[in-house]
Point group: C2
Chain length 355, copies 2
DNA sequence: TTGCTTTCTGATAGCGCTACCAATTAGTCT
DNA sequence: AGACTAATTGGTAGCGCTATCAGAAAGCAA
């Protein structure tokens, strides 16, 4: 009865399995599993043994088997709405990359300007089919979605929300500080009349960025002229209008700080249309460092926000939460702050002499 | 010995399994599996029974189990390289949407300017881990990738390649005809001096678009001035340079037809910087109808290419091929032509009076 | 040392599906 | 009808991993 001969028949190409690691480390597969899942009830010495075997065999767990055995579906929804394409595509790239590595299934949902009731219904429905949700702006601000999902016990991660809210984990940068640094940069260049284009009012990040600007201006002894502050909505189109308004003034600003790159690009376009040189006649800076920043001419000085990495981290966090949920840990909300960076390029300079 | 009591303990929330379908249909799970995999050795009557049960239970196979059981993984790679973001994100949205509906796992790969040898190696490596590949431009033109993947018997679909090649299935629009229509449109507006900015020479679509332009010009009795044709590379930056060259001429064109929207946007930017009005002094038209087209001001008249739908169709085709491959059907290459559409917006008009 | 609790580790039994082969049935040919 | 082949169908055994619980080891008090 040559039953055991079969054993190997269906084996996949060359993948190392948990059993091989276990044998090499001289422990049971179960112990290896514990180590790879970061459970803490394994003795230090044993853990080291296993780690060593893992490294030597270059083992990485089979995600399909994992999700099958764990019985947790790893469908994860990302709900977007009217994003800047540049932002969305970076987000997608980051999330998708991670998802494919962890065998999570990313589901894309587009919820455009739903009424609260519709949003609530959609969230409830979604909660039945996914294990976790990633909320990029602007939906990351929606209390309706957050509460509905929380009620269904579905973990949620907000990306790039303006500030930490007690009930939702988030991955973000410090918008206030970043805006403050950019403002300081402009001031150090010698600008006094600095225009600001605010982001969409439905996002806390907008408020944070403006607060960073305002606070820093005031700290420098400059009470920002309200006429130099325009409401924008993160779209190119809104940037166009804001820029027109700003440059229509008798004494236009010598620098304009737009709350994102798309609007900054719009400012440049308007400036050019009016025969102004950037940065000779007008400095323009943006925020986010999406591809737009390096597409336009001149390239934008902006704040780098590592969107793809943030998406990656968000997925990571979510996966962990999903796992822990099973274990029953209460999983208190995390506030994962990423570092930003002021990227100096070609759209800013000292104010014109005659200003 | 209450062993069987456990049976249900670990079961997932509400997911329907193949067993339930089998029980309902009165057949064995194996038969259900055959039906869901489209195998042909199931009697018609039995198949109907199973289909009915599947529909009633709203069953959909668990992909993790499927791939674990040694079935082909439905991992599908999309290899991109330096795309326009607008294009990429639309592509991703379309593909991802379909992927999540069919439980396929989309894997993103970025291969930037690899040397042929490296490309060959990467393709070979990829072939071991995915069941199919989607190739958007510009990689859809790579014979290296196509041949390497063909050798490994991995189905490939090219998206938006310029023309059908006998050995690779593709999903595309008729670039020649679209460009021809756009040219005719410009001519009908009264333009005679029409500038053209070519796309990247490594893409057959570029050649097709140019051919459509040239042929139509000639058919109208206008031998296009070679000085009015500039080489571009589908990037905003290249559009900038091409536009400068075109508008530097003593008798600049009254209309510029750019081979994609990004370059058309660049043309508008340059025109504005030179104090020209669009479309008053210069008509500008693009190609693709990405978000860029409706972002810039004035909005671009362009050729609509249904990118998301094309990605959807590509995935569909690919999935079918993967399935058929198993059954052993030779699967001859398909050439799926989508309809394009000339979208008239605000960037074009009659030539200026004094031209 | 014994008796008992607290870690740590291992054995077993699946997760949902398909490969493989055996068994059954239908179909064909003398 | 009987013999034999081809077409369907079912049974069994995993795929690689983890949940669960039992057993072993370690820690600790008495």
């Amino acid at each position: 009865m040559p039953v055991t001969l079969r054993r190997t028949r269906r084996r996949r190409g060359s993948a190392v399995t948990i059993h091989e690691v276990a044998r090499k480390a001289g422990v049971s597969p179960m112990t290896v599993s514990r180590v790879t899942n970061g459970e803490d009830n394994v003795r230090e010495a044993t853990r080291d043994l296993v780690m060593k075997a893992i490294r030597e065999l270059n083992y990485s767990p089979n995600p399909a088997a994992r999700s099958l055995a764990g019985a947790q579906s790893t469908r994860i929804a990302m709900i977007y709405s009217n994003p800047s394409v540049a932002y969305l595509s970076e987000l997608l790239v980051g999330a998708l990359d991670k998802a494919s590595k962890t065998a999570a299934q990313l589901v894309l949902e587009k919820w455009d300007e739903l009424k609260p009731a519709a949003e609530r219904a959609a969230a409830r429905k979604l909660a039945q089919s996914v294990a976790g949700v990633i909320l990029p702006p602007p939906l990351c601000e929606s209390d309706v979605i957050a509460s509905e999902l929380a009620a269904a016990d579905i973990p949620v991660i907000a990306i790039a929300t303006g500030r930490f809210r007690a009930n939702v984990s988030c991955v973000r940068i410090d918008d206030f500080r970043a805006a403050s640094e950019m403002t300081a940069h402009l001031l150090s260049l010698g600008h006094q009349r600095i225009g600001f284009i605010k982001g969409h009012p439905n996002q806390t990040a907008s408020a944070q960025r403006f607060a960073g600007f305002e606070t820093t201006m005031e700290a420098a002894g400059l009470t920002p002229n309200p006429a130099y502050v325009q409401q924008g909505y993160f779209t190119y189109r809104s940037g166009l209008e804001a820029a027109e308004a700003l440059l229509d003034r008798k004494r236009p600003p010598t620098a304009i700080f737009a709350s994102n790159d798309d609007m900054a690009a719009a400012v440049i376009s308007v400036a050019h249309r009016r025969g102004m040189d950037v940065p000779g006649d007008l400095s323009v800076v943006g925020f986010d460092d999406t591809v737009t920043a390096t597409t336009v001419w001149p390239e934008l000085t902006t704040i780098r926000q590592p969107i793809a990495a943030m998406a990656d981290a968000a997925l990571n966090l979510l996966l962990r939460k999903i796992r822990h949920k099973k274990v029953g840990e209460p999983a208190e909300p995390v506030d994962h702050l990423f570092a930003h960076e002021l990227v100096k390029r070609a759209s800013d300079g000292p104010p014109p002499k005659d200003a």
